[in-house]
Amino acid sequence: MKSTILCSALLMGSLWLTGCASSGVKNPSGVPVTRLNPDEQGFVAGTGIESQDLVAVADKMARSILAIPQIANAPTPPVVVLDPVENKTRFPINKDIFLTRIRAQLNSRAQGKVIFLARDRMATLEKERNLKREGAVTASADPQVQEFKGADYFLTGTLEGLSTRTRAGTSDYILYAFQLIDARTSAIVWEDMAEVKKQGLEDAAYR
């Protein structure tokens, strides 16, 4: 009887082994996304631009900007306007978020060394100024005087990508480059960059 059971077990075992449907497939369970140049660890869900990239890049840029002489040694705080970042990657993103975070970092750390202009609020600001000029609302100063500031510098940047997709997986390299441009001379007075490369492979069920 034992031999009978053993025989049956062997037969069933052979069937299971020969029937492993994923045999011959490389990495059938996929390979988790790996950030190849990490300065911050965390769970990465995709190979695109994610929050940890934003934090790392914005922090680096804010520190870098504060160190340049045009900011650190300026007799009066330079006035900076944010110009939208251009996204040249394959990932649609909310690109303003980079400049927003850099601005917030600078405002919180620079303690008045830089002044940013709210150009994205100009319509509201002009409306308020016109109400003051018309006397419809009170004014703490002469509303006829032009007090809207002009920019000394423009802070802008580009996100560029290099992507590869093969049966071995997906690879995305993204270069984040930011510049501070002198509004009077068009000279790029500061530029810095950060780069991130990620690779991943989806489950064989999706390949």
């Binding site: 449907a21 995709g46 190979t47 990932f91 049966r167 492979l201 489950d203 999706y206």
Partner: protein
């Protein structure tokens, strides 16, 4: 409930558990009784295993809410209440329907959610792993679509970004659309969409970049149509789509081969009339072509292995049952060990047949079933003000097909973002866009 009659039938077979009739009559031997018990236990275990497998499958196939036939009702309900594995499928379908109804905000939201899922599928996925198991069909995995479906999701999202004036994000979507098609089995068909490359070039030109690479790719891949010259000064873009898109079906003995069913489109081209201009638009991309030229998938290999296992288990089961029966008959009345071996083989054969029956090599045939077959595009430079565009969809002899003429009212601003119109042969008409 099932094992009881099976065991009863086994007990009625004298050769399985009685000694030699001439010596002992029909009185069971001790050895025979032990063997019968073992066999009964094994058979019971097999039935329980099979029942568990089948029950597990049934439990995993939760049904969605009832359908009304109106996709803008069924879609949101299926997304909210239906199986999670079909969520992206319904987001795709509903977004396409919303685009044709002019409900661009709804389409934008749905596509964003779908693409979020699509971009996060790397690494181990328990549900996808189950789709690779022998006893689950491929359709248990969360749907994200085949590459042509993913590309279409990006193309639609790119059009919506352009409508919103975000040309760089639109370009990112067109690049991703092409990227989804970049690992085709044959390199000839890798990244061979035309419209995404042309639109990438146009967006790049409008953003002040160098569009030459993307434009060259578009011109290389275009078939049966002539691309318009790249003109960054155009301010009206008209996206046209028509004809029925591809559907999926399962072929092969066990349905393990994914195939695409394409139907000839009654619409062959479109004619746009606006502001005294008449422009005929030929198809620049064929979704059916994209679906059928991608080549084999890794998953096809897995499904093929499942089918081989199913066949092998079935054949082994047949052989074991037959061999066991022969052994039992041959050994009957002479040697009880032969009877036991025969019985064991029959049992193993039955178990093997059960495994074969429980194996599910069926390919996943869920499809984004409201895609068009053809994509086309018209670019215009129109003066500011209100305009009305009339789009006729034309048959094989360039005759307008009845009930397919669409009227779109729109306004061109004096300055600012481009006007982007989206017109399908199934669009609601008239529309204000």
């Amino acid at each position: 409930m099932v094992p009881t009659p099976a065991i009863a039938r086994m007990n009625c077979k004298p050769g399985f558990h009685v000694g030699h009739q001439g010596q002992q009559g029909f009185r069971p031997s001790v050895r025979g009784i032990r063997a019968t018990r073992w066999l009964a236990i094994l058979l019971l275990a097999s039935w329980v295993t099979l029942s568990w497998l089948l029950t597990g499958c049934a439990a995993s196939r939760s049904q969605g809410p009832p359908l009304t036939g109106d996709i803008l009702v069924d879609g949101p309900r299926a997304i909210a209440e239906g199986p999670a594995r079909d969520r992206v499928l319904w987001q795709y379908r509903t977004a396409a329907a919303a685009l044709r109804q002019g409900r661009f905000d709804l389409a934008r939201t749905l596509l964003d959610e779908a693409l979020l899922t699509l971009q996060g599928i790397h690494g181990p996925n328990p549900e996808a792993r189950r789709a690779r198991s022998l006893f689950r069909p491929e359709s248990v995995k969360p749907f994200i679509g085949e590459p042509y479906e993913r590309s279409m999701a990006y193309i639609y999202r790119g059009i919506l970004y352009w409508r919103d004036g975000e040309l760089d994000n639109a370009r990112a979507c067109f690049r991703s659309a092409q990227f989804e098609d970049s690992d085709a089995e044959q390199r000839t068909y890798a990244g061979d969409w035309v419209l995404p490359d042309f639109l990438e070039a146009l967006a790049t030109a409008k953003l002040g970049g160098d569009p030459s690479d993307a434009l060259r790719r578009a011109q290389t891949n275009v078939r049966g149509a002539t691309l318009p010259p790249l003109d960054p000064s155009v301010n009206v873009l008209v996206f046209l789509e028509f004809g029925p898109g591809p559907l999926k079906y399962a072929a092969g003995e066990h349905g393990e081969q994914l195939r695409f069913r394409t139907a000839p489109s009654p619409v062959k081209s479109a004619r746009l009339q606006v502001a005294g201009l008449t422009v005929t638009a030929a198809p620049v991309d064929d979704v059916n072509f994209q679906a059928t030229t991608r080549g084999g998938r890794v998953m096809d290999h897995i499904l093929g292995n499942k089918a081989v296992f199913k066949d092998t288990a079935d054949t082994v089961g047949d052989a074991a049952i037959l061999g066991g029966a022969v052994l039992a008959v041959a050994g009957h009345g002479r040697k009880s060990a032969a009877d036991e071996a025969g019985a064991a083989l029959v049992l193993a054969g039955l178990a093997s047949k059960l495994l074969a029956a429980a194996t599910m090599p069926q390919a996943d045939t869920r499809a984004w079933d409201n895609l068009p077959q053809f994509l086309s595009f018209v670019q215009l430079r129109l003066p500011p003000g209100d305009h009305t565009a009339v789009v006729e969809f034309l048959g094989p002899n360039a005759q307008p097909l009845p009930d397919r003429t669409k009227t779109i009212h729109f306004r061109v601003p004096a300055e600012g973002r481009d006007v982007v119109l989206f017109v399908s042969d199934t669009s609601a008409t008239p529309q204000h866009q």
